[in-house]
Amino acid sequence: MIFERLTLHNFQRYGGTNTIEFPDPEETSLVVILAPNNTGKTTILRAIDFLFYGSLGGEGSETSWKLVTDVIRDETQAGTEVKAWVEARLKFPDNQTLTVRRQITARRPTENKWMAESPKLLWRKTDSPNEKFQADDGHYQVKIDNAVPQDLFSWFYFQGEPANGKMGRGATASVLEPLKKVLQIRRWKDARNNVQAVIQSLTQQEAKEAGANKAFLEVRHRESVVRKGLETNRLDLNALKTAESELGRSKARLDTELAEVSSQAKASQELYTQLQKHKLDEQQAQQAIDTADSQVCDLVKSTLAIPLLDPAFGPADRHLEDLRTRNLLPADVSKGFIERLLKGEHCVCGTCLDATKREELTKYLGLTLAAQTNRDLVALADALEGGKESALRKKAGAFPARLTRLTAERGAAVALLKRAQDAIEGLMPKIEKASMDRFAELVNLVRRAEREISDNQRSQAEKAESIRKQESTLASLATELAKARPKKGADKMEGIAKAIEMAETLREKLNEGETKFRQAVHGILQERLTHYFGVATSGNTAWIDKENFLPSMHDRNNLVVTNPGGGEQQVLNLAFVIALAEMRTMINEDMTSAGLGVRLLGDQSFVLDSPFTSADPNFMKAIAEFLPGKAPQMLLLLAKQNWPDSVRETLAPHISRVYGVRLHTPVTPNDPESFRFHWKGNTVDLREPIVAGKPSFITSSRTLNHGHHPPSCQRERMSSVKFRPLRSSQAAQFRKPRSIAGHCGR
């Protein structure tokens, strides 16, 4: 059911007449209403609920006068009445277009008393004011109920999250029951019960005809038992086939992922080989650096002193010669030894150390050297004497070249180390991504699925064999039955027997048909949900629960995501709502084309109140990208927080009309910015200041622009929106918009 127009007149916060014109759904589908917070977005949903079903939002019919706008009631004189209504021009699935209005007539007999009659549904075929409204006798109420069953209302016209955010979390909102009602699933069961009753009745008639013929009745009883067993087996076989098909689909999904992970695993193996090579390079480079460092150290240690000692060679030579002359070098006694002798009484030769000897030893002590110094000097003397000086000089001469070579080797090793470390760093994330663990897990899952399929096929073969035997038994029983049939009234009994057989077939086909129908309903919903959810997200997948037909998210390991992000959950909700409507229409078409008498269902309009609730900026954009084109008609009710640049820019090319809900109030808001909305380069303030002391607010709507008309027409439209006085006596205090129907050639 599609809206051509929706009008609220004195309904709740919408004083005066406020009209939303919808574009032709063949052209465009998206209409946006921008409204500051607490100005009546949800009232639009309530208004539609009221129009369709007479819902009074908690009020009784006697207090329905409370739905009339406060300030309008305040202005109503005692002894008079005031009307409020919600009216729509609707296009029904059978292409009939009708204007329907649900109206409240509130009377004010005295200053402090209000009365109201039960709100009435009125209709007229044209939209012309010249045609009078007629009271509905129930016909059009049924028509509305059929097009949008009340049970499904909240699924198509929802506030923020459908079913108060419980959807998808398995809590309260099963959609299965309303769906069953809409798709008339119960009729299959009722039909089966009817057929069963017919079989019983025919069997009783047959028994009556058979009279005392016990043999015939006994065969008939046996046949009935076999037939029941056959029916059970056939149902079991169907269930097994369905299970096999699902197992096959599940295995196919696993196979796909396995192929993907397998190729990743293969790639991972190659990456791992590369990693090993780089690690070896890294190790070798480190060793080369260590070796070069060590060699440089050795080089420095062994040669660095040579150039420094070089000038000292001459004086050192002379000094050593002097030491030798004085027989002090090589010294075979050390300073410590002499000191120890002086501390004792005797010399090492056994003679007593007298004063003269002590004086000589003391003098000698002054010429002795420390043991290490002595050794070094001896080594130096040896070098000088043995002609090693030239070797050392040569070594010192080669020092710069060796140092340069070692430095170059070290530099190369450092560069190799860096390359190896960079390569390892680059490889690690790739290796982690191509998880070998998931590969092993998938292999196990596929093996398990294969075993289950194999078991299923074995069971199917057993059932098929059992069915074959039962069919054979039934064939022989039919022969027995014909033989046992009494001669008297044989024709009549034969007719009854054929009718029973036909009814049995009918019952069987009803079972089969219902199974296929249920699977089709689930299958289509699943396919549509996957299609729509897949557009907006990645990673997680969407599934329809077979028990309650609600959607849920599964992760890569096929586990239910129990705590999804608000944005992703909202995408799932929207995808489900749209998939649900589409599936409903598709099944309806299938039922009709099959010859089943059903009420025709058509395209569905959606009114979505704040669909970006709970979404972070990324998901807001994702939802904005998701919504256009998903339904033939969509009305979005958005507050300022739902209208950021990203949403506006994404939706803009798809929007056909934008309306603003203007709040008339004497109160200066804390956050004036929340009333300013940007659209097409303009900023529109949706707050209309009024004089203090007057009733606090009234809401009205105005068109911001018309997206698909040329700029001149847009300007005309912007400037043409005027507000006329609500009451001449209160001019300019409370204003309501002129009806905007018919603008721009529409």
Binding site: E27, T28, S29, L30, Q184, R187, W188, D190, A191, N194, V195, A197, V198, S201, L202, G495, I496, K498, A499, M502, A503, T505, L506, K509, L510, E512, G513, K516, F517, Q519, A520, G523, I524, E527, R528, H531, E582, M586, I587, E589, D590, M591, S593, A594, G595, L596, G597, V598, D603, P628, G629, K630, A631, P632, P653, H654, S656, H708
Partner: protein, 59 residues
């Protein structure tokens, strides 16, 4: 350009199912199911109507 609703391929599960039946069974099945869609006919009358139809067809 404004996005247009994407039309999915139409499912034909039921049409295919009924199409797979012989005319006699198909006719009776539709009759049975369509009888159930009529909420104004009482259950007993539905049973009698189906029974009479079955007996009529086997003659």
């Amino acid at each position: 350009m404004p996005a247009k609703p994407r039309k999915a391929p139409k499912p034909t599960v039921l049409r295919d199912f009924f199409g797979s039946l012989d005319d006699k069974t198909k006719g009776l099945l539709l009759l049975t199911l369509n009888l159930e869609a009529d909420s104004e006919i009482p259950p007993k009358a539905k049973q009698e109507k189906l029974e009479a139809e079955l007996l009529r067809r086997v003659k």
